[in-house]
Symmetry: C2
Subunit: 234 residues, 2 copies
């Protein structure tokens, strides 16, 4: 597997794409409208430079539509805005995603009522499950959605042990994702497989405390570590 599609041109898509090209992968970043993404001249909501400035620093990353990227990739990363992910994946095309592992990093956050955001789906469903239902031929693995983008590809930014969670129905797809996580620098012992895709409810519902920790700590450079003690009788 050498060709990867990354859907989404924001900070997560950029960070994952740059890391993957650095690791020797061929990457196509998918966006809704290639020319308007290239034409952006303003900083984003986090004050980061426009896409084209980043792209000049990362010219190895190919740029295409969602459908072109999905057709190109042997594996696909959903790094789109969670509120738009179902539409993005529709544009990417069911047939272009069939049979492939889809690493879903998106969170269904609703910023429409200001900060902190709430979730548009949670508790009895999750975005990960919605995507899996829409794309039954695709092997959806939810992972990396519980931390800042820079930590995803550089876990050593955070001192000591801390975790990345995985949720998905297909054991081989989870192996694919674990292989990427290892290349990103994650230790096997810190990859916590929660079970099938319904467990994505648990990790997506970490976002409400994540945004409040961001506010309390005034620093996005943190992650969750599950510290385990001696077994207790259950």
């Amino acid at each position: 597997m050498k060709k990867i599609a990354v859907l989404g041109s924001g900070v997560v898509g950029q960070t994952i794409s740059a890391k993957l090209t650095g690791l020797g992968y061929e990457v196509m970043l998918g966006t809704r409208n290639v020319s308007s993404t290239q034409a952006k001249s303003e900083k984003d909501m986090y004050g980061r430079p426009p896409f084209n400035e980043w792209h000049k620093q990362n010219p190895q990353v190919k740029l295409g539509t969602f459908a072109e990227a999905a057709a190109f990739g042997e594996m696909v990363v959903n790094a789109s805005n969670g509120q738009g992910s179902l539409e993005v994946l529709k544009l990417a095309g069911k047939e272009n995603l069939a049979g492939k592992t889809l690493l879903d990093i998106a969170n269904p956050l609703d910023f429409s009522k200001g900060m902190p955001p709430s979730l548009t789906v949670c508790n009895t469903d999750s975005l990960g499950e919605q995507i899996q239902r829409e794309l039954p031929q695709t092997k959806v693995v939810k992972s990396l959605n519980t931390m800042n983008a820079y930590i995803m590809v550089n876990p050593d930014m955070i001192p000591g042990e801390h975790n990345v969670f995985l949720s998905g129905n297909d054991a081989d797809a989870k192996k694919d994702v674990k292989n990427f996580l290892a290349q990103f620098g994650w230790k096997e012992k810190n990859m916590l497989d929660l079970g099938d895709i319904t467990t994505a409810r648990g990790t997506e519902m970490l976002l409400p405390i994540w945004v409040r920790l961001l506010n309390a700590l005034q620093n996005p450079s943190f992650n969750f570590h599950i510290v385990v003690g001696s077994p207790l009788k259950m």
Copy 2:
């Protein structure tokens, strides 16, 4: 402050009550119906012995109705089942709770559709907020709700650093609760004040991953540690 009310006769209420009497506090445990709680002869859903067996081991703990306990306590602990907490607090009596700090440990878990439970309130509201709205004269502090009961009163069960969160509108009430946490063995640096009572949405929404971690680890002896790295530009 020497007299504490603990509302709820389950594992959380028992564990907190026993710890507090061990620390020299006078404790009244409140229950819906004193004689039926005393008459229970069956093990609970976790296979723990009936209330009276526990009470024989902990005779210092007084037993009363919710209202008697709430009137007795200078501080009140809500250790009732989260689905019933609003009713329990109504029975306890607004007037008996007015002006007091209420440590709310309950989670609004819905077990009616089997395991894992979902939440009956979340995302745009929380049980902590509902209680604060119902009891505007009471100083509600949500804390300790993100871990197994035994860890609450014995954090050293878990190796290394790990966190307890606090949410509440009243700074003095949070100080009261921190004082108890310190007596339970919590280090000041591991008490993470998230902000006002709306941040209880974040900690109550940790329960969905908590129950899935319980399933993945097959061990309730774990806790969350927020590991912080060097500040990142936000």
